[in-house]
Subunit: 411 residues, 2 copies
């Protein structure tokens, strides 16, 4: 059901990152459900997390660990979100980190439990079978290798139908930097300051405050601009690691001459990873960009874009390839934007203007809309005629299969 | 697919109200799609309308007419919403009112065009075939009769599967008052200060300011507490008429000794009419009450209740009879209520506590939840443990048929 080309690109290794995957029987058999990232000493790590008040135990613990120590390991399990699990959930998350730290005592550089960030995804409200997870850790450690990105992309999937990855090499002032990342998620997607799960690393040498700043900036325009069903998960997390292994002087600020190229490349990788989640949205048959232009500010453009992107009526109309533009107007109108002059509103489906000055475009013919609606990828463009701000949100349609997948998920 | 008993009650006549219905071929043949209410002179009329910025032409005109004259006729067509129709839509709405006024010139009490309130429901974004509507008006006028409520309930339907009505007679201080009303709507339902369409009349003698006050109060706790898909229509309107034909002294304020009984009866009628819309929600198989208690104020209770009631994940889980309480916690957490202490949250499905202090209730067993989920009518009760306010929102589940109905609606 995925929309467009979701095939994995060549996933370039990132010097300083090793990845191990194993089967730990969290929920299903024959499923490599446990992924460990090993991060080299000296790497800079930033992360953003869900704003859901019911954030999961691993999210709470990862946020705490990140504040007090330099992360050296990420542990990610699928099959169980360890969310809504109360104090016991916090304990199992802590035990997981401690167990991984214990495995490093014999190593050259033993780490402490607070240098491990835990991540969980899967069913909410059931206790994590932590013994099985811990039993799997030695196998994951034994499996550590630099070329584990493809397997990791598969290892973190839940209802995803395909693994999701993006990778590119850029050259800036004679220096090659590599960026590689993976993401997962297909339902309960309306990230707020974060995503479902995404892990991106680069070998570029970037100072820690700038890693944090870069992550926030690129997430805001990528994972924070997608929605499948408007449901913000309890476990959203997005991590950016800069290992510095490419060498060269440290990039410390946006004034660095290498910054712009790096920012742009990160933006491409994050946007691809975010859009892959929508393209693989539960039951998705269409990839829809909702672009709102001529607003007073970005916020009102987003409010209207989300109002359109969340409307079940619009999403089902797109599933049916029905250019039902009245539903688009209704969603624009209900967004709650103050003093919106509807007589200034224009709406296009790709290149076809369907609404002019708040009413039907006089020269619009239904066949034109029907032609666009046959496409797998469609842009709804809405011009408000009151300013110069614009913003874009990406979503998918609402099909029988969305209902089927979510009616069946736990059975 | 409707949930529960939606059968029409005995619809008592309201002295001072006559209703005529006819077939005017707005969209379909063999469909009585035009309804006219005649209201006696001296009746007090109040109305509330959609807050959607893209409100339809008839909504704009009805709001204006109501402000400048005492309404004597309501004209309601189904099949076309006359929304997103620009200036031409305003003209056709005005022509409709004028045409009806013209038909009264020979009568004892001719009315002016601004004493007619127009209402339209149906497809958005197509011009109203006003000539056909106007051609139907003489037939509707010829059909005027006091016992037309049942036919009117059918006449205003769109995707409704059944007509919706409520009626009761109360006795207050030896005086009998009758209240009768009809409503319609099954999709694009998340009214904001109004409903899809509802028309309620009573023969009680109530002063105009009090009719307005009563309407606002009862709508707030009835039509403003239902949601099917979170989409606020462009055409929502709700009218309350007090003809005064029951006789007796005018009820002018909430201090009148008859007020409480009248208010309570109106509340019952409005709540029934609102709930009927949810029970007949597009594709609905379950009627779900979301009650939020122990909040700081009604607003945060509503915010959380709507976050739950709008979650496609929860709605599909209910369709599947899956007591997936993790999805309920996630929806509570994403509602954006500030400083929510999740460790104080309790959740029940009817009498079964599924969540205690923010985690799984220790003695909860899946069979208990599964038993409740088999029911057609279910209450989700959420206690926030931070105050004494409470509020309730009614909704339905999200089924294959919702997608089917809305994917097929225009075809």
């Amino acid at each position: 059901m995925a929309v467009g080309d979701l095939s994995m690109p060549t996933m370039h290794d990132i010097a300083g990152i090793r990845i191990g995957i194993t089967e730990s029987y969290i929920r299903y058999k024959n499923r490599r459900d446990l992924v460990v990232f090993e991060i080299c000493e000296g790497a800079q790590v930033a992360a953003v997390f869900t704003k859901n008040a019911f954030c999961a135990a691993p999210v709470q613990l990862a946020r705490h660990h990140l504040a007090v120590a330099a992360p050296r390991y990420l542990v990610i399990n699928t099959g169980n979100a360890n969310a809504g699990t109360g104090l016991q959930g916090m304990e199992t998350a802590a035990e997981t980190c401690q167990a991984l730290a214990n495995l490093t005592t014999a190593a050259a550089q033993p780490v402490s439990a607070n240098q491990v960030l835990p991540f969980s995804t899967g069913v909410i409200g059931e206790q994590l079978p932590v013994d099985r997870l811990i039993a799997g850790l030695p196998h994951a450690i034994a499996d550590l290798k630099v070329n584990g990105w493809n397997e990791a992309a598969s290892g973190i999937m839940t209802t995803d139908t395909l693994p999701k990855g993006a990778s590119e090499i850029i050259e800036v002032e004679g220096q090659r930097y590599t960026i590689t990342g993976i993401s997962k998620g297909a339902g309960m997607i309306r990230p707020n300051m974060a995503t479902m799960l995404a892990f991106v690393a680069t070998d570029a040498p970037i100072a820690k405050p700038l890693v944090e700043q870069l992550l926030k900036a690129v997430v805001e325009q990528s994972f924070n601009r997608i929605t499948i069903d408007g449901d913000t998960s309890t476990n959203d997390a997005c991590v950016l690691v800069a290992t510095g292994k490419a060498g060269g002087t440290l990039i410390e600020s946006a004034q660095d001459s290498r910054y712009e190229a790096l920012f742009t490349a990160l933006q491409r990788v994050f946007t691809r990873l975010a859009q892959l989640i929508v393209r693989d949205g539960e039951g998705a048959t269409k990839f829809i960009s909702v672009r709102v232009e001529q607003g007073l500010n970005s916020q009102e453009c987003c409010d209207i874009a989300y109002s359109v992107a969340h409307s079940p009526l619009i999403k089902t109309a797109f599933f049916a390839s029905d250019p039902n533009w009245g539903r688009i107007l209704a969603a624009v109108g209900k967004a709650g934007v103050p003093e919106l002059d509807v007589s200034k509103i224009q709406v296009w489906l790709d290149d076809v203007q369907i609404c002019r000055d708040g009413g039907a475009a006089p020269d619009y013919r239904e066949e034109q809309g029907a032609r666009v609606m046959q496409q797998e990828e469609i842009t709804i463009r809405i011009a408000l005629g009151r300013g110069s701000a614009s913003d874009t949100v990406w979503t998918c349609d609402l099909s029988y299969d969305y209902v089927k997948i979510n009616a069946d998920y736990r059975s």
